[in-house]
């Protein structure tokens, strides 16, 4: 079949939180149990952090400076210093590119689901672009758009489209036929069916796609800032590497990790609110 490739389900990439909710039954946890859970999940990172601090404090290696210095540098650069403009530049490009890519992905995925001829016709192209390593296109983007902000947003958007698009398509295809029969039986009409059934039914999978797109957008954001750029966190880190300032490199990495983690948590927070029906119904199913 011509659309066999896209037929293999895009596995909803589980995170540790999902694994935890799956294997530990959900009970009304006592305060003591919650505290215990917190300690168990936090002791290792705390220990590792402390280890890093103490081991590196006496380090003489140029590549692994003391953690205290790194944190100092990070603070002076990004909190009180003006390197924070790099952060804003990065986030701006990220936001524009991600939203654009996500929208195109969802709309494209819906169109591909709805019109079979479209899907069959574009299947090889879509698949090809999906497996193409997006960073390979960066120089091409430079040729097309110059070295301004447009090129960065363009590449981020390009990369962000595919996971969302394919997961949207897959999510819609995975909706039970019985629900469509029900919609017909209730005479819902095409528009209402699309919004009340198709989007809602596919939303868990679309969310998974959006999550994957988030990761891709983040990576591309950094990549675009490391080639022919003038600002951004990626630029900051690369510049630091060029002048052999490993403390700055580390500081930049830490900034990036913070941003990445915050964005992820924000995403998960919003997702769990919007898809609360999904997570709660699964929790019930597993208890």
């Amino acid at each position: 079949m011509s659309d066999t490739i896209a037929r293999v389900p895009q596995q909803i990439e589980p995170n540790t939180e999902q694994i935890l909710t799956r294997t530990t039954p959900r009970r009304r946890a006592s305060a003591g149990a919650l505290l215990r859970e917190l300690v168990v999940s936090l002791w290792l990172p705390v220990v590792l952090f402390a280890l890093w601090w103490f081991v590196s404090s006496t380090s003489t290696s140029p590549f692994f400076p003391p953690l205290s210095r790194i944190l100092e540098q990070w603070w002076s650069e990004f909190i009180i210093g003006d390197s924070v403009h790099h952060v804003f530049s990065s986030l701006q490009n990220f936001a524009l590119g991600y939203v654009l890519g996500a929208l195109i992905g969802i709309i494209g995925g819906t169109l591909l689901w709805r019109y079979r001829f479209l899907r069959q016709g574009t299947n090889p192209i879509v698949y090809f672009l999906y497996v193409l390593p997006a960073p390979a296109l960066l120089p091409a983007m430079i040729a097309l758009f110059g070295i301004g902000q447009t090129r960065q947003v363009a590449l981020i958007a390009f990369g962000a489209v595919w996971p969302t698009l394919l997961n949207t398509l897959d999510g819609m295809r995975g909706i039970d036929q019985v629900k469509f029969d029900t919609a017909k039986a209730m005479r819902l009409g095409p528009t209402r069916t699309l919004f009340s059934l198709v989007f809602r039914g596919a939303s868990p999978q679309i969310a998974a796609g959006l999550r994957a797109s988030l990761q891709v957008a983040l990576i591309l954001m950094v990549v675009t800032e490391m080639v022919a750029a003038k600002e951004g966190i990626g630029y900051f880190i690369l510049q630091a590497q060029i002048v052999f300032s490993s403390v700055k490199v580390w500081a930049g990495i830490i900034m990036l990790v913070i941003i990445g983690t915050l964005l992820n948590y924000l995403f998960v927070f919003i997702e769990h609110r919007v898809l609360s029906w999904y997570y709660r119904s699964r929790a019930l199913g597993n208890s």
Binding site: V178, R187, R200, Y278, L284, G285
Partner: protein, 285 residues
């Protein structure tokens, strides 16, 4: 509401006239020479239904039974408008049936897959009402009314998956009834619940039919259930289906799970139907 009281009065009149044999009102559903072939024209063509004819009058309760694979569900899909018949004449309230009619309610066997888990019970039930443009306040009133019809209390704000199987099916029935259809089609609606709940739901459907004066066509593989519920039973033969016999069930509207099922007439009908439905090694079915 004066609306409901006049309706109830109407229903009383309707049900009494329907009880009188020979005074049949116009049929809600009429099926003549229905035929359904899958993959028509291709080498994999399969005739699921050969020739089925029957009609359903207003206020009647008709059950459709038959051996496994007899195409009962296919039949239901054709008469509901979800599937296109290959040949035959289908009429709903005197008009030819080409798509799902507005005054038709449908209840599927698998409530778990039919109810939308992302909507609350209230939103699920209100979905067809929203599609018909009913304003919000009226919708809310209708939802609580129909929920009490099916014997459910305050479950509006909950989600279907928070309820038990039997309650979920009640929600599904409520959803089908919310826009007051003239005909209720049910496809093995109680096959996925346990026996005790099944009896409760059977009585519920009978009560709903009585109170709302609605016509019901129910497909089931359970002979006992068919006899308990129906006024008439359409017995299908094995695939490709034809109507083997239409059996009259003379119990009237007052039925009791224990008394009715233990009566002699019930047992006679049961024997007769089992004979029709069960495969016989001797006869050429």
């Amino acid at each position: 509401m004066s609306d409901t009281t006049t309706r109830k009065a109407h229903d009383d009149i309707r049900s009494t006239t329907a009880d009188v044999p020979g005074r049949a009102p116009s049929p809600v559903l009429s099926v003549a020479g229905l035929r359904k072939i899958y993959n028509e024209g291709k080498p994999t063509a399969k005739m699921a239904i050969d020739d089925v004819s029957f009609s359903v009058n207003k206020g009647e309760f008709v059950c459709i039974v038959g051996p496994s694979g007899a195409g009962k569900t296919t039949l239901l899909r054709c008469i509901s408008g979800l599937a296109q018949a290959s040949a035959g004449d289908l009429q709903f309230e005197g008009k030819p049936l080409t798509s799902v009619p507005e005054q038709l309610g449908l209840v599927f066997q698998d409530y778990g897959r039919s109810l939308y888990p992302w909507f609350t019970n209230a939103k699920n039930i209100g979905l067809p009402l929203t599609a018909r443009g009913m304003p919000k306040a009226e919708r809310a009133a209708r939802i609580s009314e129909v929920l009490s019809n099916v014997g459910l209390g305050q479950v509006e704000k909950q989600y279907p998956w928070q309820l038990s199987g039997g309650m979920q099916q009640r929600v599904a029935i409520a959803r089908a009834l919310s826009y007051r259809p003239d005909l209720l089609l049910m496809d093995e609606p109680f096959a996925s619940v346990d026996a005790q709940t099944r009896f409760d739901l059977e009585d519920l459907v009978l009560r709903v039919r009585r109170e709302l004066g609605i016509t019901v066509v129910l497909v089931t593989h359970d002979i006992d259930e068919a006899i308990y519920l129906a006024d008439r039973i359409v017995v299908l033969s094995g695939s490709p289906s034809r109507v083997r016999e239409i059996v009259e069930v003379p119990f009237g509207h007052e039925r009791d799970q224990v008394a009715t099922r233990a009566s002699d007439e019930f047992l006679q009908l049961r024997r007769h139907l089992l004979d029709l439905v069960m495969p016989h090694p001797s006869s050429a079915a």
